[in-house]
Amino acid sequence: MLTCDNLSAGYGGADAIRDVSLRVDAGDILGVVGPNGAGKTTLLRAISGSLQIAKGKVVFNGTDITAMAPHRRPGLGLAHVPEGRQVFGELTVAENLSLGATTLPAGKSREERLAFVYDLFPRLAERRGQLAGTMSGGEQQMVAIGRGLMMDPKLLLLDEPSMGLAPKIVTEIFASIVKLGRTFGLTVLIAEQRLSETLASCNKCVVIASGQITASGEREAIVRSGAIEEAYFGT
C-alpha cells in the first residue's frame, strides 16, 4: 500500500532521516518505534508531504506521491493524525470532524462517516458542540483520530497518539486503534516511543534510531532480535 524508497529529509540542510525504506501492506498495523528524536515524526511528515523530501521516493497505492502537493494526498486516502494532536481548537468537535471529510468523495455519505466516528468514540458524540480546544488531551486525541477517519482513509498515520496522556486514556486510545485495524481492516502506521502498547497492538514493527532503520519485520522476530533494546539503550 505504501512504499518508501531511500527517503532522506530534514530541517535546514541537516537530515533527520537518512535512506529510510519501508513497506506497509494492506491490513498491516505497523509500529514504528524508537527513542525521542529518532526521526519518527520526520518520517511521517515526509510521507504526508508537510516536510519536503531531500532524496528518495514515496509511492502510495501505485501512485508516486513524492512531488504531490501535501493537501492533495488526503484525497488518495492518506490520513495523518499529527503529533500533539493539532485539533482545530477554535472550532467545535462537529466542525473538526466535518473538516476531516473535506476530501470525502461525492458518492460517500458524511453522515455515515460521522456515525462511524461517534460509534468508535461515543464521548465525541456527547461533546459535539464543544470547542475542541477546551477538551482534555485524551478527548482531543479522539477528535484528531476521528478527523482523520472522516475521509474514509486507506492508510492512517498516527504520530505519537499517547503523547501527554494518562495511562488509562492511552489504553483506551490503543484499544480503539486495534479495533480499527483488526475489526475494520484499516491499515495503520503508528509512530510511538511508548513500547508496551505499541508492541501489543501491531503485527509488524520497524525500529528507528538516529534517523535510520535498524530493524524491520514481524513483531515477534523484532522483539526476539533485541533491536529495540539496542535502539533505546544502545547496548
Binding site: 501535501p70 494526498r73 488526503p74 499529527p82 493539532q86 473538516l99 473535506t102
Partner: protein, 314 residues
C-alpha cells in the same frame, strides 16, 4: 435638556461612523486573523474603494439620469467582485510568497518582516499612484440624500439624522452580518477557519491553505472597497486618506480580540464611537489621543480583548 440633545445629536452619527469602522476592522481581521499578516496596505484599499466610487459615479452619471446616491450603491455592489479579484490576484502575485504554508514551516518569525516590507511597499505605491492619477484635491460623491436629514423626537427633544448615513450604516452592518454567517455556517467558511487555526493540520485533511488565504484576502479587499465606496458619500477622498484610518483600525482589531471577526466589528464600533464623541470634551486634533488613552486602559483591564480567549495558542 439642551445638553442631552447635543449629546444625542453627536451620538447618532458617532454610532454610524462606528459601524463603518467596525466593518473595516472586521475586513482587516480577515487578513490579520486568518492569514496572520499585518496588512499596512489596507488603508489604501479603503482609498481605492473611495476613488472607485467617485469615478464610477461620475462616469455613470454622464449617461444615467439617476440620483448619484443610488449610483453610489451600484458602485458599492460592483466594488465587491472587482476588488475581490484584485485581492486574489495581489495575493497570488505578491503575498503568497511571504505568507502561508511557505513561511509557516520554514521561517522563525512567520514571515512577518517580509510581509511588513511587502504591504508597506504596496501602500506607498498605491498612495503615489492615486496622487498621480487623481491629484491631491479631495473629492467626494455629492448627492441630495447625503445632505438631507430626518427629524426625530418632539419639539422638546429633537435630533436630526442624516438619511445617507442611515442607509450606509444599515448596509455595512448587513455586510458584516452576512460575512459572519458565511464564516460560521458554510463549508468554505469552516475550511477558512480551520486553515487559520492550524494550517499544517488543515493540509492533513486536504485543505489548500494558500488558496483559502487568497480567498480571505480577496474577501477582505472586497468588503473594504465596498465600505470605501459608501464612505465616499460623506467623507472626501484624497490620496492619503486611508492612512489616517489604518492605525485606529488596528486598535479596533486588537480591542476586539485578535483574530475574532465579530470581535473586530465590536472593537471598531467602540473605537469609532469614542473617537467621534471625543470632540465633545477635547479639541478635534486630540480626538485620537483620547481613543488611545481608552484603548490602553481597556487593554490593561482585558488584555485578550473583548472576544479573545486567554488560553495560550499551542
Amino acid at each position: 435638556m439642551a445638553d442631552i440633545e447635543a449629546f444625542l445629536q453627536q451620538l447618532v452619527p458617532a454610532i454610524a461612523m462606528g459601524c463603518v469602522y467596525g466593518a473595516l476592522c472586521a475586513a482587516l481581521s480577515l487578513v490579520f486573523g486568518i492569514m496572520r499578516v499585518v496588512n499596512f496596505a489596507q488603508g489604501e484599499f479603503i482609498t481605492a474603494g473611495m476613488y472607485f466610487g467617485v469615478m464610477l459615479v461620475l462616469f455613470l452619471a454622464s449617461f444615467l439620469q439617476f440620483n448619484s446616491f443610488a449610483l453610489a450603491l451600484v458602485a458599492a455592489i460592483l466594488a465587491f467582485p472587482v476588488f475581490f479579484c484584485f485581492g486574489v490576484f495581489l495575493h497570488k502575485m505578491l503575498l503568497s510568497h511571504v505568507s502561508g504554508m511557505k513561511v509557516i514551516e520554514t521561517t522563525r518569525d512567520g514571515g512577518h518582516q517580509a510581509q511588513l516590507i511587502v504591504t508597506l511597499g504596496i501602500s506607498l505605491l498605491l498612495q503615489n499612484v492615486f496622487l498621480m492619477m487623481f491629484g491631491s484635491r479631495p473629492q467626494s460623491i455629492t448627492s441630495d440624500i447625503s445632505s438631507q436629514a430626518w427629524a426625530l423626537g418632539t419639539n422638546d427633544l429633537m435630533i436630526f439624522v442624516n438619511k445617507g448615513r442611515v442607509i450606509v450604516t444599515i448596509i455595512v452592518v448587513a455586510v458584516v452580518f452576512l460575512m459572519y454567517q458565511f464564516l460560521r455556517k458554510t463549508d468554505l467558511g469552516a475550511r477558512m477557519r480551520g486553515a487559520a487555526d492550524k494550517p499544517t493540520a488543515a493540509t492533513y485533511v486536504g485543505i489548500d491553505v494558500d488558496r483559502h488565504y487568497g480567498i480571505a484576502f480577496g474577501l477582505s479587499c472586497g468588503i473594504t472597497a465596498l465600505v470605501g465606496v459608501l464612505m465616499a458619500t460623506f467623507y472626501p477622498v484624497g490620496p492619503f486618506v486611508g492612512f489616517e484610518f489604518i492605525i485606529v483600525l488596528y486598535a479596533g482589531v486588537v480591542l476586539g480580540g485578535m483574530g475574532s471577526f465579530i470581535g473586530a466589528f465590536w472593537g471598531g464600533l467602540t473605537i469609532g464611537v469614542i473617537q467621534q464623541m471625543a470632540s465633545l470634551i477635547v479639541p478635534l486634533q486630540l480626538q485620537n489621543v483620547l481613543v488611545f488613552l481608552i484603548f490602553l486602559t481597556l487593554l490593561v483591564l482585558r488584555p485578550q480583548g473583548f472576544f479573545g480567549n486567554n488560553a495560550a495558542r499551542l
